[in-house]
């Protein structure tokens, strides 16, 4: 189990983050101020820290300077979207930076990225009888290679990484085809159909009315 520390003074936001982390099977601890965070870090081992900048008692940047030597990956969460803050954060050696309001999916994707950097995530994702090799871009079902196009593979990875979460069509377009993609959502539906066929996931990839698709375990 990967353990994540959430340092966030707003109860609603902290709770929301916790919910999202739980869906992705991360274990999470929530603290509400910088002092408490320091205490918890001394007692316990964490794989990643989500850190709010505006904190009571000890602010995020100060706290970061203190925990830097530990080498724990840190993602800043903040409402401060000013450029200077971002530059400061990234210069100080923060792994990533997210501004509020953020979406659960984006948060999980960034956590995933940072963890992979630190080799805390394996490059193979298992789903039922299927193995997805992220580095080699290969997919095996029951040990047999499945041939996929690049876009199909990317879509598969996106689904597997966010299993049990609905992926809306907008999010899929944004992630796989990029912001400026002007196409019909039919393209997405076609790709989903192909994946269902090639992997035999007729029931696993559920269509959610009006929203998009969900990969169910």
């Amino acid at each position: 189990m990967i353990k994540i520390l959430v340092v966030e003074d707003d109860i609603a936001v902290a709770n929301l983050i916790k919910l999202n982390l739980n869906t992705a099977n991360y274990e999470s601890t929530v603290v509400f101020d910088g002092e408490e965070a320091l205490n918890v870090i001394e007692r316990d081992r964490f794989d990643l820290i989500l850190l709010d900048v505006m904190l009571p008692k000890v602010d995020g940047f100060t706290l970061f300077e203190k925990i830097k030597p530990l080498g724990i990956p840190v993602i800043f969460l903040t409402a401060k979207s000013s450029v200077t803050d971002k530059v400061y954060g990234l210069k100080a050696g923060v792994d990533d930076y997210m501004t509020k309001p953020f979406e659960g999916i984006e948060l999980l994707a960034r956590i995933e990225n940072v963890l992979r950097h630190y080799n805390k995530k394996s490059n193979i994702i298992n789903f039922k009888d299927t193995e997805v090799y992220l580095e080699e871009m290969k997919v095996k079902k029951n040990g047999e290679m499945i041939e996929l196009t690049l876009k199909e593979f990317e879509l598969l990875v996106f689904l597997v990484q966010n299993k049990n979460i609905v992926l809306t069509r907008e999010k899929i377009i944004e992630k796989i085809w990029g912001y400026d993609y002007v196409g019909e959502t039919r393209t997405i539906d076609n790709h989903i159909q192909k994946l269902r066929k090639k992997l035999g996931w007729k029931d696993e990839i559920k269509t959610v009315f009006k929203l998009g698709y969900r990969l169910e375990e």
Partner: protein, 478 residues
């Protein structure tokens, strides 16, 4: 044109106007004088020669009469007498020349001295007059004086010629000396004015440097000129101006920093509830959830929405306070206190807090609605800070300077010293997590109070001890 150049030009022009013409006039008059002297001495010299010739003639006549064969003195005798006599004379620069009535040259120094003449109008001499003329011959200038002499009824013309070049040369020399002198004086004048103006301009240059620095945006620069003259005064005034500008600029900076902080905080205050609302809604629509998660998420969405609503209203109040002109009327504080206490009864009952009122029946200039908002905020804060069964004191009185004071006193948790100065800043919360838990403070209450105090031309004072309580006073300036 530079300052020293101007001074130099002025003095030079004055100098040239007065000194040069005066010098030229002097040189000319001394020249005239010399020339006249030469002419007069020439005429008297010539007289001397003429007289000597006459006395020689007399001697000749005596000589002739003593000889036995006296036959009188003839023209040839006289001619040779003139020749022999004049031959022995002849000074430096003086040439003589004698012709008879037939214009035959009897004697002349001219040939040897290369004086050649074609036209000699001075020889037309009226009987008892002397004629003179000044001629330039080649490089030199000569004075010609012609005179009639009669020797034994023989008519001769005696010319006395003198080289007077030196008189003219003298004048030329003086004039060229004047030009040199003029150049020298101008040079000295340049040096003197440069040095002089350096002394004058030095403080001005200092002033210029300082003004440049100030104009470049460094408003804390001051001019260091210590003198009692006009420049010192200018520097002093300039410094006063710089002080004024610096104050204004700092004021502007402060107010723009305040605004920036306000905006930063506002953005933060807006984003946090938005994050929750959007996040929970997104979570609910994309995940499978159980009943508890569902209710919790919806509660968060609802609460954060209410929070945004509250924030919007508070901001509206702040904006209105900054914009409107309020009409202040005399109002009784007693009434105000009673009304406020009444509206707080439910809140007071929750914590079983006693709100005690004491007044001295005072009246102040106020806008009653605004004062209610102010008091409500202060009492609200006091209730939040208090424990159950505490007491809050609301009173008005006149202090020793007979200023009217309105006071809210609690025995609650107090404010840390570090935070005391920040409590009036918009969005500042001394204990964020607690105030959030305590029914969602925004950190705008006291900044509202401050605005309202400003409208009433009153001052807010705050005194607090951690763990002992807080006293907030509104001091009316009347």
């Amino acid at each position: 044109m530079k300052f020293w150049q101007r001074i130099f030009l002025c003095t030079l022009i004055i100098f040239e106007i007065f000194f040069v013409p005066a010098s030229i006039y002097l040189i000319n008059s001394s020249f005239e004088l010399n020339l006249n002297m030469e002419i007069r001495s020439g005429i008297s010299e010539q007289d001397r020669f003429a007289n000597s010739l006459e006395s020689n003639l007399y001697l000749l006549k005596v000589q002739k009469s003593s000889t036995p064969d006296a036959e009188g003195v003839g023209k040839p005798n006289i001619d040779s007498m003139i020749r022999t006599y004049l031959d022995n004379l002849g000074e430096q620069d003086v040439y003589l020349d004698v012709i008879d009535e037939k214009n035959e040259v009897i004697f002349s120094h001219f040939k040897n001295n290369k004086i050649t003449l074609t036209n000699r109008e001075e020889l037309n001499i009226p009987s008892d007059k002397v004629n003179y003329i000044i001629r330039d011959l080649g490089e030199k200038t000569y004075l010609f004086i012609a005179k009639n002499i009669y020797l034994e009824n023989n008519h001769y013309k005696l010319s006395y010629v003198k080289d007077i070049s030196s008189v003219y040369e003298n004048r030329e020399d003086l004039l060229s000396l004047l030009i040199k002198l003029n150049a020298l004086v101008s040079a000295i004048l340049v040096i003197v004015t440069i040095i002089m103006s350096m002394f004058i301009v030095k403080p001005i240059n200092k002033l210029i440097q300082s003004t440049r620095i100030i104009a470049g945006g460094n408003f804390s620069e001051r001019v260091m000129v210590k003198s009692k003259d006009e420049i010192g005064l200018l520097a002093e005034n300039f410094n006063l101006m710089a002080v004024d500008v610096e104050d204004k600029v700092n004021q502007l900076k402060r107010s723009s920093e305040d605004k920036q902080r306000f905006i930063d905080n506002l953005v933060h205050e807006l984003r946090t509830p938005l994050t929750s609302i959007i996040g929970y809604a997104d979570y609910l629509r994309t995940n499978k959830y159980d009943e508890e998660t569902y209710i919790n998420s919806l509660s968060f969405i609802y609460e954060e929405g209410k929070r945004l609503e509250k924030l919007t209203f508070k901001l509206m109040e702040l904006i209105v306070l900054r914009k409107e002109d309020f009409e202040l009327k005399t109002g009784k504080l007693d009434e105000l206190f009673v009304e406020i206490k009444h509206s707080f009864i439910p809140k007071l009952n929750i914590k079983n807090i006693d709100l005690e009122i004491s007044t001295e029946h005072l009246s102040v200039f106020m806008d009653k609605d605004l004062m209610k908002i102010l008091l409500a905020n202060l009492i609200d804060n006091a209730i939040k800070a208090s424990k159950n069964n505490d007491k809050i004191l609301l009173r008005s009185y006149k202090d020793t300077e007979s200023k009217i004071i309105l006071e809210v006193k609690d025995t609650g948790i107090g404010i840390p010293d570090d935070d005391i100065n920040k409590v009036f800043e918009p969005f500042f919360m001394s204990d964020k997590s607690r105030s959030r838990a305590n029914g969602g403070g925004l950190g705008l209450g006291l900044s509202l109070c401050k605005e309202i105090a400003n409208i009433h031309d009153a001052e807010i004072r705050i005194e607090s001890k951690l763990g002992e309580g807080t006293i907030i006073q509104l001091v009316f300036r009347c």
